[in-house]
């Protein structure tokens, strides 16, 4: 078994088997009690006819043993970040303990070396930036400090590339931990101390010059290589690769290969992180959908569940399953003792532990045991119900139980993750949570869900690249799209961008896109449009739009918010006061217009990080470094003699864009680093009878102040959330991240969905991103929309409010409390009574707290269930003590 969460989680035999090679050993067959091992199996060839192919072949970690200088494989205490990931893992070689290979002791002083195999033009290494190593190293540092708070962590790095959403904050979190030091320096591994096998590292700092230091362990932050067999893969599928071995990107559609019908997703596009991989996967599925729409659903089979067992007359028989979650829970909470404890609780007839309750085999185990032990309620003590409740509900259905007989006790987010250092108390708390959950479970009732029809139209808000791409993809799969644009013309921010760093002609692309949108009979564009009201729910929205003097009421099943972002208007560096100061976006436009002053400039200075990576906006705008390099390269082509200076904090030309950074450097563009507490000073000045802008900056390498006289000053103005973000968020009931960009349902796993069902997002409204990334995400959102629209019905929750007519006094308190207009008076044989329309009810339960006679009940969250949970918050002994106290005569 290579992975503890492999699907299916079963053992298999690979080529290293001694029996297969030499006919020896055969021990496994003896110990396997189920007789599952069959040495006679051979490779079989299968032919499958398909209409499209997705290559999601991922990456290969860089192998540092190709370079002797890293000492990997020769020095025992030099490991790769991938090895270290295993050391940190509960299923790793030492069961989650970080130990040195040489003496099995805990390393106290650990160094990470960044950019191993990346950003290097030496033979055998990659010139590009792998894009993920800065942040995964920070994660490893944080985990290391959680494992051992005394550990000294040193990170030798080049630039810190925290360009992803919330990564800047993540970096600050790692950096601010005690005993963690980030040192910007080239390093070399000198060797090891033969006695204690400590690794000696040589590095240089501005203050101390060159020095050598010994570390208990050195971790090589290895980069991402294309799949090992990429050449063979390309040959088999007949696709072109770029010089690095990744798919040759079509910048207008990064999922495409040069061969129609074959698509790529994930890191085969080039180095990418998890969210990008997830949405390119969904994007590739959207492309296949467009190609194969006419065959949609032809191979689908309906899932059948065993008939539901009626247990309403039975006493509650609860089964409790306590999950280790690898070591996420069990490294803190004592799982076996929690299982023992659960067995002592009322109505619990069975309890056991599971390594991963969410694994397929565990679900099977729950189903089997439910039958064997006659369970009629199940408590899963594991993680938050947010992610996995649907999975476990499904497990109950498989067991022939009503899915609402499930309760999840969250002993991970609410317990082990927050009490890592208080193991005993955490175990007690886990038991408290389980006890409360069991109390609630015994009060649960079976509920029925019902199907709602799905309106097959989509509303896309925002007519920029993201919105148009998404709209076209959905329309190409046969569904109507209403595209809402607030301005007179489509195009959005891309109207102001002329080329990408890779050389794509953005305006030509945009023209094609706009034409395609207008030509598509399924896409209806509303210009100068404002949304005034959004009502309805997943599958059945109704949006009111005011457009060009008319009011439209649009019915749609899904909504995509692609409202883009704005550019920060700098208040610093003389912007708006001096006519030689521009933003990068303006400079790009001036270059495209061949503006005289820019063409004739002798000296041009760019300042990076203007308006972000500061207290007001604690994030990186992601695109500006590449933007600066792009403009610099263009100018160097126009006028190779122009002096160009880029004043930066960290150059974040991540991924394959690193090559352009190197190119700019080779062409004589000067890159000067500045520190946030010593920003460049800008003043207007006269020099040799010419008006210039004088930029003064400390040069860390020369250790003196530099004066740069610039004819043009260009500022990397931050990308900021669109002014209408808050308003749109309010209309569609979606939430915002701390920096006021849209907040996705899950940063990694649901990067194009909102937590609000039926609402999706893409483009820079999510976070600043490059055009290519926007296209990826727009297709990704289309893929998720299609997953919804390809169904004829969606299932509505059974957890809705219900009126017990007998108790209703027709006061109307519930009706005034309901904002969904889900409750009304109806005539019944017993007179007028309140009635809840279960389709409109969202199950918030506010009505139940207003009813003076408790006549309205929120199913699944009934007073009985919640009160028993509240009562169980105190332990049995405590209850006994209290009963004694009450029975005393007053």
């Amino acid at each position: 078994m290579y992975f503890s969460q492999a699907i299916p989680l079963v053992a298999y035999i690979d080529e290293s088997c001694l029996y297969l090679k030499e006919g020896k050993c055969d021990i496994c067959r003896g110990v396997c009690q189920t007789g599952a091992i069959d040495f006679k199996q051979t490779t079989q060839k299968e032919e499958v006819n398909v209409g499209a192919i997705i290559l999601a072949s991922g990456i290969e970690p860089f192998d540092p043993s190709v370079k002797d200088e890293y000492g990997y494989g020769t020095l025992q205490n030099v490991v790769t970040s991938m090895d270290y990931e295993r050391l940190l893992s509960s299923t790793g070689p030492y069961g989650g303990e970080v130990l040195r290979a040489s003496d099995k002791r805990h390393p106290k002083k650990i160094a990470w070396i960044q950019c191993v195999g990346s950003r290097r033009v030496t033979e055998g290494e990659n010139s590009y930036c792998s894009g993920v190593c800065c942040t995964y190293t920070q994660k490893q540092v944080i985990l290391t400090k959680e494992h051992d708070s005394d550990a000294q962590c040193t990170i030798f790095h080049n630039d810190i590339r925290s360009y992803g959403k919330d990564f800047e904050r993540f970096f600050q979190r790692a950096e601010q931990l005690p005993g963690v030091e980030f040192i910007r320096s080239y390093v070399s591994i000198v060797g090891e101390n033969p006695e204690n096998k400590n690794v000696i590292v040589r590095y240089a700092t501005n203050d101390d010059g060159v020095k050598e230091e010994a570390f208990d362990m050195v971790i090589l932050s290895v980069g991402l290589n294309p799949p090992t067999d990429h050449a063979a893969l390309a040959k088999t599928f007949g696709i072109d690769l770029n010089s690095h071995g990744f798919n040759q990107t079509d910048h207008e559609n990064p999922m495409k290969t040069n061969r129609p019908g074959i698509f790529v997703s994930g890191a085969f596009q080039g180095p990418t992180d998890i969210p990008e991989s997830v949405f390119t996967a969904s994007a590739a599925s959207a492309q296949c959908g467009a190609l194969l729409d006419y065959r949609r659903g032809k191979l689908a089979r309906e899932r059948t569940y065993p008939p539901e067992r009626d247990v309403s007359t039975e006493e509650a028989k609860i089964g409790v399953f306590v999950c280790h979650c690898g070591a996420n829970i069990s490294s803190v909470v004592n799982v076996p003792s929690t299982v023992d404890y659960a067995m002592t609780l009322p109505n619990v007839v069975y309890a056991q532990e599971q390594l991963f309750s969410c694994a397929t085999n565990s679900a099977k185990e729950i189903t089997d045991l439910a039958e064997e032990k006659g369970l009629n309620r199940v408590v899963i003590a594991a993680c938050s119900p947010r992610t996995l409740e649907p999975l476990f509900r499904d497990t109950l259905r498989e067991a022939g139980l009503n899915q609402y007989y499930l309760d999840m006790a969250n002993i991970r987010e609410h317990c082990s993750w927050v009490h890592a250092k208080q193991k005993e108390e955490a175990t007690k708390k886990a038991q408290d949570i389980v006890r409360m959950s069991v109390a609630r479970a015994s009060r649960l009732e079976p509920l029925q869900e019902f199907d709602l029809p799905v309106n097959k139209a989509t509303l896309v808000v925002g007519g920029g690249i993201a919105g148009m791409t998404c709209a076209l993809s959905i329309a190409s799969q046969g569904h109507e799209v209403h595209l809402i644009e607030k301005k007179k013309a489509l195009g959005g921010m891309a109207r102001r961008i002329h080329t990408t760093i890779e050389g794509m002609d953005v305006q030509a692309y945009l023209d094609d896109l706009i034409r395609a949108v207008y030509h598509n009979p399924l896409i209806h564009v509303s210009h100068e449009a404002t949304i005034t009201r959004v009502s309805g729910y997943l599958g059945n929205f109704m949006t009111t739009v005011e457009t060009e003097g008319r009011v439209k009421a649009i019915k749609h099943g899904a909504s995509v918010l692609a409202i883009g972002a704005d550019v920060y208007q700098p208040t610093e560096y003389l912007y708006g006061e001096n006519d030689k100061v521009f933003t990068h976006l303006e400079l790009g436009e001036l270059i495209a217009q061949k503006e005289e002053r820019v063409m004739a400039a002798e000296s041009l200075v760019m300042i990076q990080c203007v308006g972000c990576r500061n207290e007001d906006r604690n994030y990186c705008s992601r695109v500006c470094c590449s933007h600066a390099v792009k403009n610099a390269l263009k100018l160097k082509v126009i006028n190779p003699e122009m002096d160009i200076y880029i004043l930066f904090r960290d150059m974040r030309t991540y991924g394959l864009r690193e090559d352009y950074y190197r190119d700019a450097s080779d062409k004589g563009v000067r890159f000067i680093r500045y520190e946030p507490d010593d920003k460049p000073l800008v003043e207007a000045a006269q020099e040799g009878g010419k008006e210039i802008v004088r930029v003064t900056i400390a040069d860390p390498i020369l250790g003196q102040r530099l004066e740069l006289d610039a004819d043009i000053l260009s500022l990397a103005a931050a990308v900021i959330p669109s002014a209408s973000t808050r308003e749109v968020a309010g209309l569609f009931k979606v939430t915002l991240s701390p920096d006021d960009f849209f907040k996705e349902a899950h940063v990694k796993l649901k990067p194009v969905e909102f937590a609000t069902d039926g609402v999706f997002l893409c483009g820079t409204a999510h976070y600043p991103k490059h055009i290519q990334e926007t296209i990826n995400q727009a297709y990704g959102a289309a893929g998720r929309v299609m997953a919804l629209l390809s169904k004829d019905t969606v299932v509505a929750s059974g957890s809705v409010a219900e009126v017990r007519a007998y108790d209703c006094v027709t006061c109307g308190a519930c009706i005034t409390a309901c904002t969904y207009d889900a409750i009304e008076f109806v005539d019944t044989p017993k007179g007028r009574k309140a009635w809840v329309n279960p389709i409109l009810c969202k199950g918030d339960g506010v009505c139940t707290t207003k009813c003076p006679t408790d006549a309205i009940v929120l199913k699944h969250f009934t007073n009985a269930a919640l009160c028993s949970q509240i009562d169980a918050a105190v332990t049995g002994q405590e209850i006994l003590r209290q009963i004694d106290a009450v029975t005393e005569d007053r």
Partner: protein, 212 residues
């Protein structure tokens, strides 16, 4: 389920069970996960409950509501830590206030019986017309509302306690006033109105009131 589902009864019940503090987490104000903005309803309930706690003699600081989004993990951790420290410093329920815990429980039980009545009163007289932070703080922190609440609640709490006492055995006006620490004339006033409503009856032989 919305934070607005957190019923007055749930909070009182938790204290009745002997919890030393109750913490409620809701969405950020004006960023409702639903469209109900039920977090304002939860907030109103917290304000009411704090007033009830004041009447009973429980420190209202034992109840806290915080508004946060799914992105505010740090805020949750910090406010939980802060609240825990605060509740610890207040000491166990009753003991920290210098009141016998059984008295506290008795009064809480009486208050719980009033929840249906309080729901009506909330709707009729204590509902803030506008859901905004400013409107809520101004309304619930005004002395007028305090006065209004006292008027509504004091008498009802007294009667509710009397009913609880009478449930066990018939008692005379003097017994009741001693046990509840109430003015005997107030007690007879309550008893008169309660017998008019047919809730209690007066037994002339024992000179005691009993439940009707």
């Amino acid at each position: 389920m919305c934070s607005g589902r957190v019923d007055l009864e749930f909070i009182l019940r938790a204290f009745f069970n002997g919890q030393d503090g109750v913490f409620i987490g809701g969405c950020r104000l004006d960023e409702c996960n639903y469209i109900t903005h039920g977090n304002y309803d939860a907030w109103a309930n917290v304000y009411l409950c704090k007033k009830i706690m004041g009447h009973i003699g429980i420190n209202p600081e034992r109840l806290r509501i915080e508004f946060m989004s799914g992105a505010d993990g740090n805020l949750l951790a910090d406010s939980t830590d802060d609240f825990t420290t605060q509740v610890k410093s207040l000491g166990p329920l009753g003991e920290g206030e210098g009141i016998d815990v059984n008295t506290v429980r008795f009064k809480l039980e009486a208050a719980m019986k009033l929840v249906p009545y309080l729901r009506l009163v909330e709707r009729e007289r204590l509902r803030v017309p506008e859901k905004s932070k400013k409107a809520y703080t101004e309304f619930f922190e005004s002395s007028q509302v305090d006065r209004l609440f006292n008027e509504i609640f004091t008498e009802k709490l007294a009667i509710s306690q009397i009913m609880l006492l009478l449930k066990k055995k018939p008692l005379s006006t003097i017994d009741i006033s001693e046990r509840l620490g109430l003015n005997p004339s107030d007690v007879s006033k309550h008893m008169n109105s309660s017998s008019r409503h047919g809730l209690v009856r007066y037994d002339t032989t024992s000179n005691c009131y009993a439940l009707a």
